[in-house]
């Protein structure tokens, strides 16, 4: 048989393509459910990690829901929305993960130098102080931009505040190191990773901005609770005075 005849080549390529396509699609389909479970698990672990609560059981500890642009709860399948977070933000559906102790985790998403970057930022129940941040990326340069995914970089965010008084200021990555004057709202940028650092600054500001009404609502409620407590304690005092 002539192996260089056109017929042979065409038959050979057709058979090869069909076999390869079959092999790949069977593998992809049969492994899909396991892969999705892994991805979901990774998200849940990242959420717990941002709260420094990796030892807790996600399903018991976290309530997931979504809010709209006015900060009101809306019906939504949170993890389906998380599949395309950027699209979800544009739609006006903002996922929130609330821990039992009142701390909340908000997902953030943006662009680095080479591709998307994303993460989870956990805020204390005052909706102002960051208690933990987890970032990840798809293709930032190892040793430079990819440093945002390291524990060393992420640890810097703990204790930073996203509000100055009542004004939203977000947290910025500053080239040359966080300045003393603005220490509560700045962290050190990554040397050699300026574009990625800018990407993280933008990601934080843009993503938090979506949640401002929600944060404001929670802050107002917290302030009211505090005021109510003061009143209650005043009443108790009055009674005891009588």
């Amino acid at each position: 048989m002539n192996k260089n005849s056109n017929t042979y080549i065409i038959v050979y390529s057709v058979v090869m393509v069909v076999v390869v396509a079959l092999l790949l699609s069977v593998t992809a389909l049969s492994l899909q459910s396991r892969q999705n479970a892994n991805k979901l698990n990774e998200k849940k672990n990242a959420i717990l990690a941002s709260l420094s609560a990796s030892d807790k059981n996600y399903d018991e500890y976290i309530t997931a829901y979504a809010v709209n642009a006015d900060g009101e709860k809306v019906e939504a399948d949170v993890f389906a929305q998380m599949e395309d977070l950027k699209g979800s933000f544009e739609e006006g559906i903002f996922p929130v993960f609330e821990a039992q102790d009142g701390r909340v985790v908000v997902p953030v998403t943006g662009s680095g130098l080479w591709g998307p970057i994303w993460g989870y930022v956990a805020l204390d129940s005052d909706m102002n102080t960051i208690v933990g941040a987890i970032f990840d990326h798809s293709g930032e340069t190892p040793g430079l931009g990819a440093e945002i995914a390291t524990a060393k970089h992420q640890a810097q965010y703990v204790g930073k505040q996203i509000f100055e008084g009542d004004e939203f200021v977000s947290v910025k990555l500053r080239k040359g190191g966080a300045s003393q004057a603005n220490f509560a709202h700045e962290v050190d940028a990554i040397s050699g990773g300026t574009k990625t650092s800018d990407g993280v600054s933008n990601m934080l500001a843009d993503s938090f901005r979506n949640y401002l009404p929600f944060f404001a609502g929670r802050r107002a409620a917290a302030a009211q609770d505090a005021a109510a407590e003061v009143e209650v304690s005043n009443e108790v005092n009055n009674e005891s005075n009588e």
């Binding site: 080549i9 050979y12 390869v20 593998t27 492994l31 892969q35 698990n41 293709g139 190892p142 040793g143």
Partner: protein
């Protein structure tokens, strides 16, 4: 099995397929292949090691499969067939890793494209596997992958040590001697950039050829 009785699977000749790419026939510093990915993944030691192992595995199995197919492949479309085999292998492995060892697959995800297009893999398939029996082809693939990995690890060692003061993420150069802590030392920033990988590869080639006089071009 009868073939194995004639020639032991780790005969001197077969072992040579495995070991010659480490030095005398190294794909990076002698054949000058795979330079582009050597620049991309050598900023730190860990990705370099992951990449080295992946390329060794892919190169070995691509050689094996192509060697098994070698009598049926029409020579006019052999390059496309090679590419399909290599790409299929890499994607299959990545899918399986994604399902069973998700962490490893995340490490690898960035490099999948770099593995498929690595010229060493195709170079060995074309130059060796298409004309050799499966077992020597497999050894040749593993050997070339490891020979490539060896250079990657050496380059990454210098780049991470002098560029960041760490190795595999652990601090080697003590914080206390850094200028910011009152010392005299600071990291060599240029180490983190791709040109430095080329310069280090150049230095390795220089040292290697001074040692192996027969490789020097007249």
């Amino acid at each position: 099995m009868s073939k194995n009785e004639k020639e032991p699977i780790f005969s001197a000749k077969n072992l040579k397929y495995l070991t010659s790419p480490f030095s005398a026939n190294n794909p990076v510093i002698v054949q000058i292949l795979g330079i582009c990915s050597a620049l991309a993944v050598t900023v730190q030691l860990k990705p370099a090691i992951v990449m080295a192992l992946s390329v060794a595995v892919v190169c070995g199995f691509a050689n094996l499969v192509m060697s098994l197919l070698r009598n049926g492949v029409p020579s006019r479309i052999r390059i496309i067939v090679q590419l399909v085999v290599i790409a299929t292998l890499v994607i299959l492995v990545d899918q399986v890793l994604k399902a069973f060892v998700y962490d490893v697959s995340k490490q690898l995800s960035v490099y999948v494209g770099l593995i498929i297009t690595n010229c060493i893999v195709m170079g060995r398939v074309e130059a060796f596997a298409l004309g050799s029996k499966p077992w020597p082809s497999f050894l040749d693939g593993i050997g070339n992958g490891l020979g490539y990995g060896l250079i990657l690890v050496i380059v990454a060692f210098f780049r991470e040590l002098f560029g960041a003061g760490t190795l595999l993420g652990f601090r080697i150069i003590p914080e206390s001697i850094y200028a910011s802590e009152g010392g005299f030392y600071s990291n060599c920033g240029i180490m983190l950039f791709p040109p430095m990988a080329l310069i280090i590869v150049g230095c390795i080639i220089w040292a290697h050829r001074s040692w192996h006089k027969d490789l020097q071009e007249k």
